[in-house]
């Protein structure tokens, strides 16, 4: 296969065959054997002087394949395919009661607690063993240093510590080998490019939109995990995402945007092109209408979070606070707030009709929609479990991996971290929120919203929010049964306590799939899903945005200025 400078897509395709040529026979077992042999040797022989041997060692080797396609205004901008293999070494010295883990030597969040590196993609036993050998050696030295520092810190802080939980929770060894047909597809940017270009071309019909970009991503991951406890996992995951973003400015300079997100297990499972086009036209119509929308007034308001915004508000008020993993012990010993709901276990966090559970074992949500957060085993090799989090408004449990707390002594299969991320933390997989039988249809929800607003006083506004970033991006004012777009809506003072102000929920759950970047810990996200109906909040303080507007474009768009203005 020749690479001609004129055919980058051809190159990508040619690279697809590199691993399967005759002179490099596939040794599909090479990775497992290299892991097994180096793990056994390290467990038995790895020791410096009188220092302790590892009490636990696990390797995770993840093969990542990604195809990326980007287009704007009807033309392809990027087509990229990447293939990478990384190893993560989880090596512990000491014992389960006190080891080198969950210790923050620097006073800030540490991301170098374990060790990871990029290793060869070829299934070459010797080359892989060499990488594992050196990675383990590095991890062992680092572990010894951390353990010594942690012991030192523990002695200095002994007086403050009341019965610390152990550092490592026991679990049963497991063997999980799983791959669905979808996760065996090889990502190729060509699969999504045609669709991405076609969707981006729709913006040629929208003179009110200054800028737009459409990107498609297909990821396939294969994970192999082996621990000294005997757990072996070989599984795969895959997902496809198409993101459509439009940006423009109102005549007064306020920046406006709108976004659509399509997700599926693979490119072939995405909605058909016409359905996506309809959605993108709606996005563009909405964004165009927002340019002329009035600004909001500062007031108390009743807010209905619908669709993706419902998932986003659940993330902010609930999912982000569900980690039961204790904060790392700090070398300085200061108290830090972790934003977790741990202190509110057994207490009311929401209205009586509200319940929530997390279940990573699910692969699909309502209507068979694909959910991102499914897995059979978490990133610490523990089988995913269904966990009831909120039961009739009461917080009953949190999500936790193998770093136990006094309240949660065992992993519930939610120890998660990205392949390149060295710390595991209790994180959601698929979080399902429901109102039990109390769910209302869209019409009744709006009636309820109007009623709650009337109760709160004649100037109380009702807003419907469909897309959030830090603040609502797409919002409407509901008045006299009609929805009018508004601009500049800023939410004030929403905290996890605000969940108690939910006065009603919808009856149609929405699947919000996203890559959760976590809250300051780790720089690579984990795929997660929040499935929730619309949520109606009373008594939310809102104000008008104080963002400094920038001048709208000073001269006309080159494409639209050369064409007659479209009919209004």
């Amino acid at each position: 296969v020749r690479w001609l400078a004129g055919a980058a897509l051809g190159v990508a395709a040619s690279l697809a065959v590199t691993g399967v040529r005759a002179d490099h026979p596939i040794d599909d077992d090479a990775v497992r054997r290299a892991m097994q042999d180096e793990l056994a040797r390290s467990k038995n022989d790895l020791r410096i002087g009188d220092e302790p041997r590892p009490h636990y060692l696990a390797y995770t080797i993840t093969d990542l394949e990604e195809a990326l396609s980007v287009a704007s205004f009807g033309a392809a901008q990027l087509a990229r395919r990447e293939r990478e293999r990384v190893v993560r070494v989880d090596l512990r010295v000491g014992d389960a009661a006190l080891d080198n883990s969950n210790f923050d030597a620097d006073g800030g969040y540490s991301t170098s607690e374990w060790y990871w590196k990029v290793i060869p993609i070829d299934d070459d036993y010797l080359a892989l063993r060499r990488e594992l050998w050196l990675a383990t050696d590095d991890a062992y030295r680092a572990a010894l240093e951390r353990l010594a520092a942690k012991r030192g810190a523990a002695e200095r802080q002994a007086a403050n510590l009341e019965h610390p939980a152990p550092d490592f929770a026991p679990t049963r060894a497991a063997t999980i080998v799983h791959a669905s047909e979808r996760t065996r597809l090889a990502p190729d940017p060509a699969d999504l490019m045609d669709r991405v270009v076609k969707l981006s071309r729709l913006f040629l019909s929208y003179p009110g939109i200054d800028d737009s970009v459409v990107s498609g991503v297909h990821d396939v991951l294969r994970r192999r995990y082996l621990s000294t406890e005997g757990t072996w996992i070989d599984d795969r995951a895959g997902r496809a995402m198409v993101t459509v973003a439009g940006r423009t400015q109102a005549p007064d300079g306020m920046r406006l945007s709108n976004q659509s997100l399509f997700t599926a297990a693979s490119p072939r499972d995405l909605p058909a092109l016409p359905a996506m086009e309809t959605d993108v036209r709606h996005l563009a119509d909405t964004l165009t209408a927002m340019r002329a929308a009035p600004l909001v007034e500062t007031s108390d308001a009743v807010i209905l979070f619908e669709g993706q915004a419902a998932g986003q508000i659940v993330k902010r008020l609930l999912a982000d606070h569900l980690s039961g993993t204790p904060l790392p012990r700090s070398s300085r010993g200061e108290d830090r707030a972790d934003g977790s709901l741990a202190a509110r276990l057994g207490q009311r966090v929401g209205p009586r009709f509200l319940s929530a559970y997390d279940d990573p074992r699910e692969e699909t949500g309502p209507g068979g929609a694909f959910v991102f957060g499914g897995y059979r085993a978490d990133d610490e090799g523990v089988a995913g479990q269904r966990v009831t989090i909120v039961d009739k408004g009461i917080l009953t449990s949190l999500l936790i991996g193998r770093t136990p707390s006094n309240e949660l002594p065992h992993s519930n299969g939610h120890g998660r971290g990205a392949p390149q991320n060295a710390t595991f933390q209790g994180r959601i997989g698929n979080l399902f929120v429901s109102g039990g039988g109390a769910g209302l249809d869209a019409r009744k929800l709006r009636d309820k919203a109007a009623a709650v607003a009337r109760e709160a006083g004649p100037r109380t506004a009702v807003y419907v929010v469909r897309l959030l970033e830090d603040n609502p991006v797409v919002a409407y004012r509901l008045a006299h049964g009609r929805e009018e777009p508004v601009r500049g809506l800023v939410l004030q003072g929403l905290t996890p306590r605000s969940l108690r102000d939910v006065v009603a929920v919808g009856d149609a759950p929405f699947v919000y799939n996203f890559i959760d970047a976590g809250r300051g810990r780790g720089w690579q996200g984990v795929p997660t899903s929040i499935v929730t109906p619309a949520l109606l909040f009373k008594d939310v303080e809102v104000r008008r945005s104080r963002e400094k507007p920038t001048k709208p474009p000073l001269y006309a768009h080159p494409y639209f200025s050369s064409r007659p203005a479209p009919a209004p």
């Binding site: 296969v1 020749r2 690479w3 001609l4 400078a5 004129g6 980058a8 190159v11 990508a12 040619s14 690279l15 065959v17 590199t18 040529r21 042999d37 180096e38 040797r41 390290s42 022989d45 790895l46 410096i48 980007v70 287009a71 704007s72 205004f73 009807g74 033309a75 392809a76 901008q77 990027l78 087509a79 990229r80 395919r81 990447e82 293939r83 990478e84 990029v118 290793i119 060869p120 993609i121 070829d122 070459d124 010797l126 080359a127 892989l128 060499r130 050998w133 050196l134 050696d137 200054d210 800028d211 920038t550 001048k551 474009p553 000073l554 001269y555 006309a556 768009h557 080159p558 494409y559």
Partner: protein, 605 residues
Amino acid sequence: MRVLPTTGTAVRGLAAAVVIGMGCAPAGQRAVPVLAKTPAAQSGGQRARSADPPPVVRVEPLSGGGGGEKAAGLVALEQELARAMAALGQAKPPPYFMAYRVNDVRDLSIQARNGALVSSAPTHTRVLETEVRVGDYRFDSSRPSRSVAFPGQEAALLPRGDDEPALRAVAWRETDRAYKAAVDRYSQLRAQRAVKVDREDNSDDFSRERPVVFLESRQPLEIDVPAWEERVRRLSARFRSVPEIQFNEVAFSATNTHRWMVTSEGTMLQTAAASVKVNISASTRADDGMDLQRDRWVNGAGFEGFPGEEALGRLVDEAIADLRALRKAPVAEPYVGPAIFEGPAAGVFFHEAFGHRTEGFRLREDDEAQTFARKMGQPLMPAFISVYDDPSLRKLGDVELNGFYRFDEEGVPAQRVALVDKGILRGFLLGRAPVRGFPRSNGHGRGRIGRRPDARMANLVVQSSEVVSAAELRRRLLAEVGRQGRPYGLLFKDIAGGRTQTGRGSERLKVQLVMVYRVWPDGRPDELVRGADLAGTPLTVLTKVLAASDSYGVFNGACDARSGWIPQTNISPSLLVGEVEIERKAKGQDRPPVLPPPPVAGALP
């Protein structure tokens, strides 16, 4: 490896840490691979004393070609630029200069370790940089100021094809953004001028240059991807049977860049450049914990004349042999005394000690020590040494030079600049930011994609009007050892790279030596030592060059400064320096790996 900020604003913020310091090295795995080869070395020995310039191939920037057809995409950008100038010409203040610069980069990189592929990925990106200036040539929105930050200058993705509406839409958006940022900065600079004292250097902010039009046709670069993957695997497999080398990597990369530039002054460029590189990197930890690294590299402007697998394999084997020898070598002691810099090492030494201080912006900006600003016409080094920089040199012997280009990033044709003539400072490297006494660019405005160009080196050439044979140079070293009463002299055969600081109050120099030998007066064989770093005060060292050899060495490298990593070359004869200062390299605490390497059952012969 330093992580470099990508926006102008961030650069300002990190001035103390990054802007002042420069590194010029392969510097770990991320840097651009480079070449170290001494084409004339084999002919060394007893050549006649000669003041001949090196045997170079020069390419006049506007010669041979320029008959290419203008790409449709370039036409679209030309039209959009004209429309933008006309439309914004009505605004207040209007732009007086506008430029679009496009880099269309196709890149393939392949890496392997221990015979196994780590990655092999082609990329194709086309990015647009937009420059808008308001004010006038005398005082404009680009004037450097310690209190007015530059706006971020990220490059924007362009469509990869010639789709006119899509190309122009991006250019429009970027122009509007760049114009607003320029107006904003210009008004801040004007407000500041009202309250600040005058600058020392009252040069214009932007030089006036004659527009150039040059259109090259597209040049394909054919790469047999699977064949190169196999070759890189096989080269790196030579490390499989070497247990003591812990890290190794063989990296191949090929880049084909097509560049467009269109300015409101009438400049229109369409140029093509290709590069092919192989970088071999290996490191080991000595028993006392010292980390030792060896990098070898080769580059070319295409596959013609590029070394074959056998020659590349020899480089791998040499790296292995060097590291094995270094592991066993004694640790260098602190030393002050005479030393020979072989050609590539001498080139890097001049690059750090001298070259960076001739970069125009360092003579003008307030943060800088402006070392050379008042030394024009004064002697800096012995009268037999001359130094020039010439980006239009394409080859020295059969070695392609990394610093070659026809036009700089500001669209100015490359020019040869005499920096030092017979020991006297005569010139500076200049882009379009003038310096007192030097109102015009000499075609050295350089920077990586996404950075504002600065005056930078291209092909830096050190010349000597008096030369001796290599043997004579060695004889003089030993004579100097005797005269100074030192136990031995030093020979610097190879160098990893260097850093220098040019900031106010912090002028320092550091060069990482790799292959350093003790040369004994009693006739013992030269003795390899490890862990030596060259330190010192730049200007003092320059005065101590005693003699030069008759053969040139080339260090094809990559150089980093405020405007980012750029390909660059240093050429010099071997030099005898009367006094250098050697520091012992800081040693790591860690021991070699606890366990022996896994058994090499699968090792290739």
